[in-house]
Symmetry: C2
Subunit: 241 residues, 2 copies
């Protein structure tokens, strides 16, 4: 089956977690909004969603994935689907649940990263909430970032000779943690340089994912979007303290 | 199987979404931290989690559910497990995915409610971020609350004569939306009185869930915790604008 991914065309954002899973799975997909005229297709889809009499199960927001007749939204939910269909999560209930749990914790971290530059409202510019952003980013660097990275470090330590969060085999949660580490390195380079010393296994996981052949090929391709100042991970030097 | 729920004993918080599902399922469970000495058991569990050589898959934060050998964390992940084992979600992949998607959207809304009174840091008192809270709550009432409630209203409209978010049968997502509507009514009574006129189907869903026999019995019992000023849903009159 050829999938259709719908996500904003100019940012990695939450869509990137889905792209990484599709790429590692070697799945066929169209990145709809990045085709010529594709943003129109995404906007038309969202407008149709808001029509009361549309029959489809409507997504609240991008990203969403069309898989045959299914329209699947919410990043962790999309990844759970891809994981089950493409061997990117354990098949048993306990392993599947653990991978989903890891992903939801990563999603919480991603939300908190977003709120370092938008603590008041997504609808306002950064400049209109910069004062609040300075306070929130300070707390994030001092408390939240080490709390999350320390958690993943401990999980990886426990696994001993196993390489990934859920054991010896890569899952979509590993691909997502790769993206978070890359994004934090972009947004908070100084803080991440410090964290890298404290949480070396998290960095090693990032490097291990980056070296996987399909991921390496993807990262070198034009399909990979660079981090930029409109996404979740943004670099504002003043937020480094 | 008798479950063990681990969650802070003094607030409904995220644990309440799990309780509602366990109650509707008529499942046997211990609310561990609310037993005598139970908070100690919760704290001991969290301390053991942080020991590097513990072998269990560690939760990042409460709530978590012990189900035999499994320790399941992240609210939506716990609910997905309960839904599958107790008929509180459709059995087919499409329905299961849709219910999970709805729950994750509810979880996003819950995060935003929390941040109306804690926009800077969970570790700080409300009083130390009140100025920022006033701004964030204003945006929440004006934009986010109607966006989310309007979304659920449209889903319920689409279902026509069917009663619940995923169709004719109740799911854990309906129980969660009940809790959110109740919580918003506590935290933002004026705003919710307005919203009730615009989104009557959401209110009707709340009432339908409240009238289900097991839920009604639970709500009348001592097991149900009242909303209070330490939870996610708090009433600060100044945040009503």
């Amino acid at each position: 089956m050829r999938y259709e991914l719908y996500y904003w065309p100019s940012i990695p954002g939450r869509g990137e977690f889905v792209r990484l899973a599709l790429e590692e799975a070697n799945a066929e997909y169209d990145d709809v909004a990045r085709r010529k005229g594709g943003l129109k297709a995404l906007m038309a889809f969202l407008a149709a969603r808001d029509a009361t009499h549309s029959s489809a199960q409507p997504p609240f927001a991008p990203p969403f994935l069309k898989a045959g007749k299914m329209i699947i939204a919410q990043t962790a939910n999309i990844l759970s689907f891809i994981g089950a269909h493409h061997g990117l999560a354990p098949a048993g209930e306990a392993g599947r649940s653990w991978t989903n749990q890891l992903q939801l914790t990563i999603a919480d971290l991603v939300d908190e990263v977003h709120d370092t530059h938008h603590p008041i409202a997504s609808s306002l510019y950064y400049e209109d909430q910069k004062k609040e952003a300075l306070r929130r980013a300070e707390d994030f660097r001092a408390h939240r970032m080490p709390k999350y990275l320390g958690y993943f470090q401990r999980i990886l330590q426990r696994n001993k000779d196993k390489s990934y969060l859920a054991g010896a085999k890569v899952t979509y949660a590993d691909l997502s943690l790769f993206q978070v580490v890359a994004g934090l390195g972009y947004a908070f380079p100084q803080a991440m340089a410090q964290m890298a010393k404290r949480y070396p296994r998290v960095i090693a996981l990032h490097d291990r994912v980056a070296a996987r052949p399909r991921i390496a090929a993807y990262l070198a391709s034009e399909r990979r979007l660079a981090f930029n100042q409109d996404g979740i991970f943004r670099y504002y030097p003043e937020l480094e303290g």
